[in-house]
């Protein structure tokens, strides 16, 4: 029997601490006990497997994948390598391919609406009365986010994300690796830190003021207006906490790492280079325990992706291939390049040792799309795979293509794995997917 996850016992809860002492904290020297137990480089930590924090990464490709090139015919452990799995062959034993999974009732207001709900499973995206619900990564961040400099990272190749707040509001994604890198690893000068602290405090003073005004406004609002204003009040309160935490983190040095500030990919059409660079950032963030939860939205483009030999056609156009062989083979070149980049990312995580195991073993990487067949905007039979995270992988878990299993069953299991005490999430009907077991 393993001993329980003890991080939260060992560390002093920062939020409570700061709440109790208010602004005075800044005058105090930083207490060692406040450093989250695992916010140290992995090598320095004790060589106890259980002391490694668990991480969760979810990545969604909005234009889908041509599933015949991904999903094997054979189910079980003896599955054949399809063209895309060929690219992941180094990781065959570190991943599980799923088929026959989807969220129910995803017919939405347009063909891509199911992108809104990939991590939430809310029904009827974009139709009358639709309101999105919290995405599983944000639910996880609520639980474990306090431990790290960033409660979660919400990333994308463009500004849109797959992460949603508990009020059903989309969080914007960071798409510039350079900005991300700076916030993760580059310390400001003394003057800059002072200025940052001043800005944070000033921001909190502003929030205090507007919070008062919002409460005053609330008193003469009707029921539904009040509900709306609650979003504002929640946002103010959350941001206050966030700024307060940032003040604490601002005076603490960031992890010193052996990597240079990256240049963002200048060519906005070079999607593969953008994905690669963001993968590097994600690996660095996980390795240094800057966050435990990451989402990455990989957008397609209405342009020809650069630097893929043989591709001369606009990507979105290719996704609507209309069964045209030439288009499908061009599309394959793009998607293969994406799987190659994914494979490099998994190798990178695999190569980082942490407490006697690889970082990949501590990180569950969910990769896939919200479209099962992008050419027809079909949201059933999603391409999905899960790598790492300490599961007994190396299998294809095939489910009924005509009567799909609820994808949320997998999400609720991921939330549990990260320590969130729920046994139901969104449209889930049970916890976990049969056959997916911890190693």
């Amino acid at each position: 029997m393993h001993s329980p996850h003890i991080a939260s016992h060992r560390s002093l809860n920062r939020r409570h601490f700061l709440r109790g002492t208010g602004a005075a904290i800044l005058g105090l020297p930083f207490l060692d006990a406040m450093v989250p137990a695992f916010a140290r480089p992995a090598a320095a930590a004790a060589s106890d497997t259980n002391s490694s924090p668990k991480r969760f990464v979810a990545m969604c490709a909005g234009l889908g994948f041509h599933t015949p090139f991904l999903v094997p015919e054979k189910a079980g452990r003896d599955f054949e390598l399809t063209p895309y799995l060929q690219k992941l062959s180094d990781h065959r034993d570190q991943l599980t391919v799923f088929s026959g999974l989807s969220h129910p009732e995803q017919q939405g207001n347009n063909g891509h609406a199911s992108e809104l709900t990939w991590l939430t499973s809310a029904k009827r995206p974009g139709l009358a009365g639709f309101r999105n619900t919290i995405s599983v990564d944000q639910l996880i961040a609520e639980k474990v986010g306090i431990e790290t400099r960033f409660p979660s990272l919400v990333l994308g190749t463009r500004s849109g994300s797959i992460s949603w707040t508990s009020n059903g509001v989309e969080l914007p994604a960071e798409s510039r690796p350079s900005v991300l890198f700076k916030s993760l690893f580059v310390d400001g000068t003394e003057k800059e830190v002072e200025a940052e602290l001043r800005q944070l405090k000033r921001g909190r003073s502003i929030l205090d003021t507007v919070l008062g005004e919002a409460k005053r406004m609330e008193s003469d609002l009707g029921h539904r207006d009040k509900e709306k204003l609650d979003e504002y009040l929640d946002s103010v309160r959350n941001l206050e906490v966030r700024l307060q935490q940032s003040e604490g983190w601002a005076v603490r040095p960031k992890p010193k790492i052996d990597a240079e500030l990256p240049n963002d990919v200048a060519d906005s059409n070079d999607s593969i280079a953008k994905q690669r660079l963001m993968y590097e950032m994600i690996a660095l963030a996980l390795q240094n325990d800057s966050t435990r939860t990451v989402t990455f939205r990989i957008s397609g483009m209405n342009a020809v992706p650069s630097n893929i030999t043989g591709v001369a056609t606009d990507w979105h156009n290719l996704s609507h291939h209309g069964k045209d062989e030439e288009k499908i083979s061009e599309l394959q070149l793009i998607e293969q390049a994406e799987f190659e980049a994914l494979s490099e990312f998994l190798s990178r995580l695999q190569g980082i040792e942490e407490n006697g195991r690889s970082l990949l073993d501590h990180t569950a990487v969910l990769y896939g799309s919200n479209l099962g067949n992008a050419s027809a905007h079909d949201w059933r039979n999603l391409p999905l795979l899960l790598a790492g995270g300490g599961y007994r992988h190396g299998q294809h878990l095939a489910h009924d293509e005509n009567d799909n299993t609820h994808f949320a069953n997998l999400l609720v299991a991921q939330a549990q794995r990260m320590g969130v005490e729920i046994d139901q999430f969104g449209s889930s009907t049970k916890v976990g997917i049969d056959g997916l077991e911890s190693a």
Binding site: E170, Y232, N373
Partner: protein, 810 residues
């Protein structure tokens, strides 16, 4: 395991008075029993409808929507379907009379615009207008939620912590940009440059370009290289610039059209088109445009429409080439233009104060090139900073909140100002902090409306955000204070007409058509280059201009709503006339103008504009279903129900063997599919004659099977083949057959009330910030009836909307 907090919440819900408004549907059971249950019970639930288990809780939007749909389909005689025994008129009426009151009641209780956040465009316009800035704030904010097509609906506009944080940063950027950094107005400079003198391009002169004795350099067919960018016409800083291009058409009898673009060396950056112009043959002419350009861009000129199909330039040399060209003598770039100094925002903060440059300790510091002046607010002796700040914050708050404010409403901002002073902020810093708070407060971020009739200021805001997409201007505020517009619709309309005549009305044209017609998606697809080689950037630009210009014309001339589907004119330029095969109209040059169409033209009206035909397709193929849905939702105002769960779409196939229509016929042979598709598909069938970029087709283009063609586009042989013939015939849900698009269009114009109802509903939704519902129907019918008396003029319809009760109530 539920968290303690959520159980507490659940407990509170139990204690609160029940808000569930289930209605008694027993009076309907008899009708259901006779006509409905056979197909719509828990067993069959055809079309996804199970009447046994349909919730009667009308506060559930999904259930409400289904009940309204049941009401409509029974009332319209669409249900029960034709092959089932039909209820008599009296039975139908009894059914309607039984269902109408609960639906009306449930909707009246739930309606009312929900506290509406400014969307990101409104936020940007409001701040830029108030501070005299030109910042892309919308681009820094998360995308807005939408309700159906509109991004102005309060219910759908959310707010997150990150958005709030961006607001904090945005107002800082606005204050930075608007507060003066110099004592004197910064000078603008004028660069005059020519291709003849530009070092970069000498190598093209004599090979691809021709230099003339008058110093002009002539461009011929546009190849992507040389780019036509003039490195000397370069912006060091972002700002407004005037660009003047001087030149003429060379070896041409007709004017030569060209694009003026902003180009940059930064890979992957946007390269905006600034405008299209033309030069006539003869003496040099100068065109001038004024526009915003970001830093480190250069001016680029590209000719359009010059084709050297035989490669004569390459074979015979540029000197011996006899085809037309575009001669450019020089380009002038003047800027950055400072429109006002100090800015409006600067004056809003500092009027009445003495803001002085802090003299540097060494006077000659001021002569250095790196010198940046610092400023301080000089308060007269014995003045309390707080007393000085008070009236400033009050006037800022009045602007921000779009209404007069009381002293106590700014007390907390004044406290914030003081607390900042106590933390050793300067007067200016403390003032900025308090002003930032005002622009992050809910009074600014949200349009607050009290239940019932709107008060004067809320009404002014609704009118201003509707027509100018920004806060009320001074004149509107003044008009509000002097007379109660709420009870005086005529005065409201006078203000409306003033705003319609203002420059910012263009924002309404753009934002409303972006939502209503989905023009915001114009860039969402890039047409397949092999299938549609005609497509180019100029067409894209012209298509948008056409639709916006057409809508502008309908409003300006108060033309009937029937023009939405059929007009005897179009707004055309050379590109569009060519695209629509209307060259006989001899439309020259890039300026769009109103042109009378030949009798029986398929053009005229939104349906056959290339922008619409593009946004309703996906770049490669068209689907009658998608186009049918577009027509139903956007022009007829009827939102088809989505396919029931478990139905997947038809996968398009462009290999040429079958048409999508044939596949659809196989797909929806069942009765339950047909009950909806009978209404959805016909408009899409009628539009089958138009390809994804809006050109007429008799046969589908194909990349696989089909006949080879010898057509030339831009002087090059096309590579697509011609496949299956188009079948554009059909039958409307009402049973009217049509053989051609024009016959279908004529059927639509037979019912102008339907078009007016849909259009008025779109305007009301966009303007009021809420979805129209069951209980709004009588008022909308009143609008339609009155509108009919005025031949359904579009502008008159806008007036009726503005004067309506819906517009003037929360």
């Amino acid at each position: 395991m539920p968290s303690p907090r959520s159980s507490l919440f659940a407990l509170l819900l139990l204690i609160l008075p029940a808000t569930v408004t289930a209605f008694d549907d027993k009076p309907l059971h008899g009708f259901f029993n006779t006509h409905c249950y056979e197909c719509h019970d828990d067993n069959d639930s055809k079309g996804g409808l199970d009447l046994y288990n349909l919730s009667t809780d009308l506060s559930d939007p999904g259930a409400m929507q289904k009940w309204v749909r049941i009401f409509d389909r029974v009332a319209a005689g669409e249900m029960p379907p034709k092959d089932e025994p039909a209820p008599d008129a009296a039975a139908r009426q009894r059914f309607s009379e039984a269902l109408s009151p609960p639906l009306t009641e449930a909707h009246s209780e739930a309606k009312g615009t929900v506290l509406r956040r400014l969307n990101r465009l409104e936020y940007q316009n409001t701040l830029n207008d108030l501070f005299g800035t030109h910042l892309d704030l919308a681009g820094t904010l998360p995308e807005d939620g939408r309700s159906h097509e509109f991004d102005t609906v309060g219910e759908a506009l959310g707010l997150s912590m990150i958005q709030l944080r961006r607001y904090l940063e945005a107002i800082d950027a606005v204050l930075d940009a608007s507060i003066a950094k110099t004592v004197e107005q910064p000078a603008s400079k004028t660069i005059k440059a020519s291709y003849a003198d530009s070092k970069d391009v000498q190598k093209f002169i004599g090979t691809q370009w021709l230099k003339r004795p008058d110093g002009a350099v002539v461009f011929f067919q546009d190849t992507s290289y040389p780019t036509g960018s003039l490195r000397e016409a370069w912006t060091d800083n972002a700002g407004y610039y005037k660009i003047r291009v001087t030149g003429y058409a060379y070896q041409s009898d007709v004017p030569v059209t060209f694009a003026v673009n902003a180009d940059t060396f930064a890979r992957g950056s946007e390269r905006p088109t600034l405008g299209y112009f033309s030069f006539a043959p003869g003496k040099p002419q100068t065109i001038e445009l004024e526009t915003w350009i970001d830093e480190r861009y250069m001016v680029q000129v590209k000719p359009w429409g010059i084709v050297d199909g035989n490669y004569d330039i390459k074979n015979k040399g540029v000197v011996n080439y006899t085809g037309p060209g575009l001669a450019i003598q020089h380009i002038e770039l003047e800027g950055p233009l400072v429109k006002e100094f100090p800015s409006r925002g600067h004056r809003l903060l500092f009027d009445g104060l003495e803001r002085k440059e802090i003299e540097p300790s060494h006077p000659d510091t001021k002569t250095k090139s790196w010198y940046v002046p610092a400023f301080e607010i000089a308060l007269p002796a014995e003045t309390e900073p707080k007393a000085t700040a008070q009236p400033i914050l009050k006037r800022v708050a009045a602007k921000a909140f779009r209404r007069p404010v009381h002293d106590e409403e700014i007390a907390s901002y004044l406290d914030l100002f003081e607390s900042q002073l106590a933390l050793e902020a300067t007067f200016e810093e403390a003032l900025r902090t308090a002003v930032s708070a005002i622009f992050c407060s809910p009074d600014f971020i949200y349009l607050k409306e009290t239940p019932g009739w709107l008060d004067n200021h809320a009404l002014a805001s609704r009118l201003a955000y509707f027509l100018t997409r920004s806060a009320p201007d001074d004149q509107l505020m003044k008009a509000m204070e002097s007379r109660p517009l709420r009870s005086d619709p005529q005065a409201l309309l006078t203000q409306a007409d003033r705003l319609i005549a203002s420059e910012h009305f263009e924002r309404f044209i753009v934002d409303f058509t972006d939502s209503w017609l989905n023009l915001r998606e114009i860039n969402a697809t890039s047409p397949d280059k092999i299938l549609f080689p005609e497509f180019d950037a100029y067409l894209q630009w012209a298509s948008l201009e056409e639709s916006r210009g057409f809508f502008r014309e309908l409003i300006a001339k108060d033309l009937s709503v029937t023009n939405l589907v059929q007009s005897d004119f179009a707004m055309l330029n050379d590109r569009l006339a060519h695209h629509y095969d209307l060259e006989e109209l001899a439309v020259n040059g890039p300026a769009l103008r109103r042109v009378s169409l030949p009798v029986n033209s398929v053009r005229g009206g939104f349906l056959t504009q290339s922008s619409i035909l593009k946004v309703s397709a996906n770049g490669t193929n068209t689907s009658p279903v998608m186009r049918g849905v577009w027509v139903m939702e956007r022009l007829l105002g009827e939102t088809p129900a989505p396919p029931p769960a478990g139905i997947s779409g038809v996968e398009p196939d462009i290999r040429g063997a079958t048409t999508l229509r044939e596949k659809l016929d196989l797909h929806r042979d069942s009765e339950s599919c047909q009950s909806c598709h009978n209404a959805i598909d016909p408009p899409g069938f009628a539009l089958e004659n138009f390809n994804p970029i809006g050109t007429w087709r008799d046969r589908f283009r194909s990349l696989g099977e089909g006949d080879k063609v010898t057509d030339l586009v831009h002087g090059r042989k096309v590579q697509f083949k011609l496949g299956q013939p188009v079948d554009a015939t059909g039958q409307t849900a009402d049973g009217d057959r049509f053989e051609t698009f024009n016959q279908f269009r004529a059927l639509l114009t037979r019912d102008p009330d339907r078009l007016a109802r849909a259009f008025a509903t779109k305007l009301l939704t966009f303007a009021s910030g809420r979805e129209m519902g069951f209980s709004d129907r009588p008022e909308i019918e009143r609008i339609v009836t009155e509108s009919a008396n005025q031949d359904h003029g579009v502008r008159n319809l806008m007036h009726l909307v503005i004067a309506s009760e819906i517009f003037r109530r929360k």
